[in-house]
Amino acid sequence: MKVLLSWLREFAPDIDGDPVELGETLSALGLAVEEMDILGEGLGDIVVARVLDLNPHPDADRIQLVSVDAGDGEALQVCCGAFNMAVGDLIPFAPIGTTMPNGMEIARRQMRGEWSNGMCCSADEIGLGADSDGIMILNQLIGDGAAADAPLGAPIVDVLGLEGDVLWDLEVNANRPDALSVAGVARDLAAALGVDFSFPEYPALAAGTALASVEIVDPTLCGRFLAVVLRNVTVGSSPAWLVQRLEALGQRSINNVVDISNYVMLELGQPNHTYDLNLVPDGRLRVRRAAEGETITTLDDVDRTLVATDGVIANADDVAIGIAGVMGGASTEISEATTDVLLEMAWWDPPSISRTVKRLQLRSEASSRYQRGADWGDNMDRALRRFVQLLGEMGAVADPGVIDERGTTPDRTPMTVCSAKVNGLLGTDLSAEDMAGHLRAIGFEATVDGDDLLVTVPTWRWDTATETDIAEEVARMYGYANIVRTVPRGEQAGGLTEYQADRRRVREVLCGLGYDEAQPLPFLAPGDLERCGLPDDGIVLTNPLDAEESVLRTSLLPGQLKAIAYNQSHRNGRIELFEIGHVYLPSADDQELPDEREYLAIALAGSEAPAAVAALHALSTALALPNLQLREGAQPGLHPTRSASVVIAGRERGVVGEVDPAVAGAYGVEGRVAWLQIDLGEVLSGPHGKRSYDRVSKFPSSDIDLAFSVPDTVTAASVEGSIRKAGGALLVRAELFDVYRGPGVADDARSLAYRMRFQAPDRTLTDDEVAAVRQAIIDQVQSKNQATLR
């Protein structure tokens, strides 16, 4: 909502002060200043000039030669790209040496061989409106009479009365329908500054029997409907002052009837609608809910189908001629032929309007006010009088008789507010009388009864209905900045959960291994999962911004492959990434939400499967995972002979190996990618982290190396299992240190060489003991793994 200081002063003449400080006051009231513009600032050098002559440029079509008098009686030649002025017009003129608001400096220069001694200005160029199409014609704007009095060479800020005017663009929250009007902002600001606020008196309307009539069929839709008939209307242009104000607030001028409608809405916050009376049979209106499937052509010439929750205004034949509070119908639109106008000022049920606006996606200045709850009280009568006054200045005459039909309006029974509760919520120590004072300043009725207040909420605060709402108003007027700052007295120890702490540990371990944390968006393109060899069962977004981001991921693989491809395409080296993020798996039919899980993935470009297995073991050590096993077998999307499922404590928790070269290729990834993905949520929620102390032996140890020829069908894990089983308690370490294929080993086998260390906690092992356990290991490995000692 934009407001002008000069306009605010029509309601509170004593509003005064430094524009920046006034802006701070507005912000502190909850009317945040998004932009402030001091009108006329930097325009001191722009003066009024008269167009003396217009001539074509001898050597250019798009510019003409304008001869102006800027007050010294001399004719100055100016090259100008606009053609909208006539000889005799008064225009804003920037003489040589002027610095324009945009920083441009006006200098004498040649354009296609002709000298230009200054610049004729458009409204846009001097920050006085959006119009950049033509030069601002001052005599049209302020009237020929006033223009005749304007001395040539006078600063235009004086001529236009801009001196000291300030434009604020305010952010108005959804609970402040009243502040979507100049008067409403003035009320708040006046209260904060402690100056008087009042509405001007607009001429009363004559009583009588109205020729038109309104029937409210559904009182829950329409709380109040005021109407009056205006005759002798001439649809035409609006006076300059009105156009100037509308433009300052961001509204373009259309014609006098539309402009006044907008003006009254901006000034008093009351949306309104005009019908061509002669297109409304008998001047009869019926306010009701739409029939399901009922159709109407709206002002924008769109045919719209309505539903039973929409509100409509229908004519005597019960044909809808407008969508209540949202948009009028085309059939009764004001045109240049209109002479009689039926003017509507209504109050609509906010939820009803909101539903229709949302369904039809029809937002407007009017509907946004109705949605938040307009004023159903005296302001409606005031707005009606104001409209009639303004159109009356252009010759229109109101028929006697104002129609005032009532439906259901919000309950405004005075409520009891406990001052102790308000203080208890705010942390303040205000008396009931202090609170009442703050509330009265913004139009609430408040009487004090001991520690309680009896409060009646004004009709312009639809959203305000509870004790807490009242507390907010008290806080707002008292000033948030004045509330003494404390901290809660509750004594609690904070902390991370075990899960959160472990997750951090995982991240740190992976960083220690040299991997960088990547966080791709969790959205996939259709087909991404299929390209990964995964089921195409990702949950689909209803309203994606981009088809490429329309599916929720069920695996971290596509995102990581895209990240690798991105980095490879930028020739980045050592692409070793990890990610911890949510995946969204399809859930059982009886579940409201997806089966959402937190996964961990590691993707190592240029590495083979063992690198990922090594990372898994590092993690396993860091988290003390119990009984980690790899179950060999092809995994979707992974290299069929280089992948395994990760089994922890007997449960499958993920996959490890290498990405299928075809999948990597489909994502434009070059080379191999070692891959690990585990369900981190399950792993960290399951048993882990259990560590026990083994006393470090002080006795000597013996090392033995053994190499076995093992068929390819038998896993190293199996061989290692046999070694550990036979080695028993004396085997303190067994590690694979060499894998050999070639001469000396059968074609379908390889040699696995292990280094073992034997040690007892309580004695030095004898040679016999070591020899015995060595033989036991050889026997066990050979008998269980079709292996032979080499």
């Binding site: 507390a471 809660p488 991240r507 968006l521 689909v540 930028h570 949510h582 939400l593």
Partner: protein, 332 residues
């Protein structure tokens, strides 16, 4: 006794000086102090002397032996030192030749910011709560006092998913659903922060992402006031941004808090920067979670994590946070 100590010492000194390696000095040592050296020979002859003369001659022999020993030791030390110096010189390395680089990994910038925020709040006595990113309308809107018709719903630019009734399931548009889930499952007093990913229908550009990260705080306790809210915000701001940074609250509107506020932090140039929203938990929200608003009061606050990272490092394009270019990731 036909041994002349002076001659012997002179002879030994000459031999020691002639030795240029440890092996040679060893040989010289053997020659003069070994069993076949002149000194040993002279010692053997001592027995033939009378006791008086034997004592004097023995003493002289011992002195000579000691001096020989010192002389040879000194030479050995010199040679040892030279040998060590030569060996070490041979091992000279140019330490600026860096063939192998140890590579550490890097936590994502958002993770770093999030961890730091969590740590500040943990220090202030909060726990960290989390919740699902896909939510029902109840958790994302209704329980938060945003009924189906409410205009505020439109302002959330919600991304819906194809589950259940139309617009009944969505990607959470804020972290506030975690408030509801926490209050449903935990008796007050409650002191939590809830960081996590949130979603809006914002096309990715230099300043927007459709998925971004927020952190939200919730306190529910007896007698918690708006003064406590303002004080908590201020304590956090000072802990996170530094003691010189000030905070202020301005009236605002959120359906789930009343009174509501925006909170700003001061910048070095004296201007204010809007950081997030906050307010006293709306009684309807407490009621929706089965908490009696006549007994318990609470406050909540929330703001963007990504934005903090963008501000801190003056990123000119927020999309870097999701591009995962390692040249970006490794800068932090």
């Amino acid at each position: 006794m036909d041994l002349n100590p002076q001659d012997l010492l002179a002879e030994a000194a000459a031999a020691a000086d002639a030795a240029t390696t440890l092996d040679q000095i060893q040989a010289v040592t053997g020659q003069f102090l070994g069993k076949k050296g002149q000194l040993s020979e002279a010692k053997k002859q001592l027995g033939a002397l009378d006791p008086e003369a034997r004592k004097a001659a023995g003493q002289e022999l011992n002195e000579t032996r000691q001096r020989l020993q010192d002389l040879l030791d000194a030479r050995r030390l010199v040679l040892q030192s030279a040998e060590r110096a030569a060996q070490l010189e041979g091992e000279r390395l140019d330490l600026t030749e860096r063939l192998t680089e140890l590579q550490r990994g890097h936590l994502h910038l958002v993770t770093q910011a999030r961890d730091r925020l969590e740590d500040v709040f943990v220090g202030m006595g909060y726990h960290v709560a989390e919740g699902p990113e896909v939510e029902t309308a109840w958790y994302n809107f209704e329980a938060l006092n945003i009924p189906e018709w409410h205009p505020a719903r439109g302002s959330f630019d919600t991304i819906f998913v194809e589950m259940g009734e139309p617009e009944s399931v969505m990607l959470r548009s804020h972290t506030s659903p975690v408030q509801i889930r926490t209050m449903e499952n935990q008796e007050p007093p409650i002191y939590i922060v809830a960081p996590g990913r949130t979603f809006r229908t914002d096309t990715a550009d230099a300043t927007h992402l459709p998925a971004f990260n927020q952190i939200e705080g919730l306190v529910v306790d007896r007698g918690v006031t708006m003064g406590d809210l303002a004080g908590t915000i201020d304590a956090f701001v000072k802990a996170f941004f530094g003691g010189e940074v000030k905070s202020r609250l301005r009236p605002s509107y959120f359906p789930f808090t009343e009174p509501s506020a925006e909170f700003d932090i001061s910048r070095a140039d004296g201007s204010w920067l809007e950081l997030g929203g906050c307010g006293m938990v709306h009684p309807n929200v407490l009621r929706n979670c089965g908490i009696d608003p006549d007994i318990w009061q609470g406050f909540a606050f929330g703001f963007g994590i990504d934005r903090l990272a963008v501000m801190r490092y003056q990123l000119d394009d927020i999309r870097e946070l999701v591009n995962n270019d390692v040249r970006f990731l490794r800068q932090f």
